[in-house]
């Protein structure tokens, strides 16, 4: 084999490998959908966050607008404080927007749904959402229904 053909083959091999890496990164992983743009953080206080965790989606009308960046427990008020990182391009949520924890599907992952309020001022970095609905815990609901039935 001449030096020339060998080099061509090695070139094809390296190019194919890099193309495969690129294909895996762009088409298979979520790199193309991850926005590394600027975000701003707002916090919300929940009595119970259920199965919410860091990197859970934050949605508005079902569209992904950000992610949960931190979950902390406040032992003064006995509640959970969740930090939401919302993309800078969605910076027009009214100050009195409401954050509710929902479940995708019956047993799916949990996410935060932002429902816009009516105020004229917009949310900005460091704000706290005043209205927050806790997660629906299936066991609690079933327990409540059973308790209702018994008391009837």
């Amino acid at each position: 084999m001449t030096r020339h053909t060998l080099e061509i083959w090695v070139g094809i091999f390296v190019a194919a490998g890099i193309a495969a890496l690129f294909m895996l990164a762009m088409k298979v992983s979520n790199l193309s959908t991850v926005t590394t743009g600027d975000t701003y953080n707002v916090t919300a206080r929940f009595d119970n966050i259920g199965g919410l965790s860091v990197r859970s989606p934050v949605k508005a009308s079902g569209v992904l607008v950000g992610r949960v960046s931190n979950v902390a427990y406040d032992d003064k008020t006995y509640s959970a404080i969740v930090t939401l990182s919302i993309q800078q391009q969605f910076n027009q949520f009214p100050k009195d927007s409401r954050a509710s924890i929902y479940t995708a599907g019956l047993l799916g992952e949990q996410y935060i749904e932002l429902s816009p309020g009516a105020e004229d001022d917009y949310l900005k970095d460091g704000d706290r959402l005043m209205m927050a609905d806790s997660a629906m815990i299936l066991e609690q609901m079933i327990g409540r229904i059973i308790a209702d039935k018994i008391s009837e």
Binding site: V10, I12, V14, A16, G17, L24
Partner: protein, 267 residues
């Protein structure tokens, strides 16, 4: 007739010998790796030697990687579809195929095939060179076999493995796509969308890349050391080749478990 005490002492002696030999070998392999690192800069100045090895280590392994990747992906598609369709969730077939290949099967199966195809060839080549005293001949001509022979092979293996693993995963995903979407009728959009939704760039994709880099390093190191450390007889070369494949495969499998356990987030 030996007394029980003598028997025990003899057994202990054998055990001690084995242990010393074992640690001796580990020490020699570490020194071997150190000498490779020392010679790497010189190898980088002779890219032609690396190209030659990239051809025999990488290019010649592509075919087996392509075929194996396609079939593994097709089996994943078929098997996954059969299980998922029972729960009416065949649309997450993409998730299953993508995650399995990128995180686990891609790097591991590639490393096993790499150890069998390229690693054994490296060991046999070096073993035969040692048996026919080619290393001594080189040293007599003031040519360092580490710079001239071993370091280029090490670099070639180290570069080839991640590329081969990526090719394996990519071909496997298209294999799964072919069976799932083209043959069994999973929705085309759902296949890719579900896959993109659940395969994370940093957590999963980079994890697979790091794994394949680690496996490439370890498999090439073991193959080269087994060859360099051969008992210089025909039998020794044969045994070294077998050992190279066995040791590299077992190390890769054990290392894969450790790496997965370390990187899998349990939040």
């Amino acid at each position: 007739m030996q007394s029980p005490l003598e028997n025990t002492v003899n057994a202990l002696e054998t055990l001690g010998q084995r242990a010393i030999l074992f640690f001796n070998r580990i020490g020699r392999s570490a020194l071997f790796l150190f000498r490779i690192f020392q010679s790497l800069p010189f190898a980088l100045f002779r890219p032609w030697l690396i190209f030659q090895q990239l051809y025999s280590v990488g290019v010649l392994t592509i075919v087996i990687i392509l075929v194996a990747g396609a079939f593994v992906g097709m089996v994943l598609g078929l098997q996954g579809y059969n299980i998922l369709v029972r729960f009416n969730s065949e649309s997450s077939l993409g998730t299953m195929v993508g995650l399995t290949l990128v995180r686990e099967l891609g790097p591991v199966v590639t490393a096993l095939l790499f150890a069998g195809r390229a690693g054994s060839a490296l060991t046999a080549e070096l073993g035969l060179m040692k048996t026919t005293d080619q290393f001594s001949a080189m040293e007599m001509m003031a040519v360092d076999p580490f710079k001239r022979v071993i370091a280029p092979r090490f670099l070639a293996g180290f570069i080839s493995m991640p590329l081969l693993a990526a090719i394996f995963s990519a071909v496997g995903i298209y294999g799964g796509y072919f069976v799932g979407v083209a043959l069994l009728g999973v929705d085309d959009g759902a296949f890719w969308a579900q896959m993109q939704k659940s395969v994370d760039f940093h957590e999963d994709f980079m994890n697979g890349v790091w794994k394949s880099i680690t496996f490439g390093f370890v498999a090439t190191w073991i193959a080269l050391f087994e060859g360099y450390d051969t008992v210089p007889t025909s039998e020794g070369v044969g045994r070294a080749t077998t050992q190279s494949v066995v040791h590299a495969s077992l190390t890769v499998l054990a290392l894969n478990f450790i790496l997965t356990a370390l990187t899998l987030e349990t939040t």
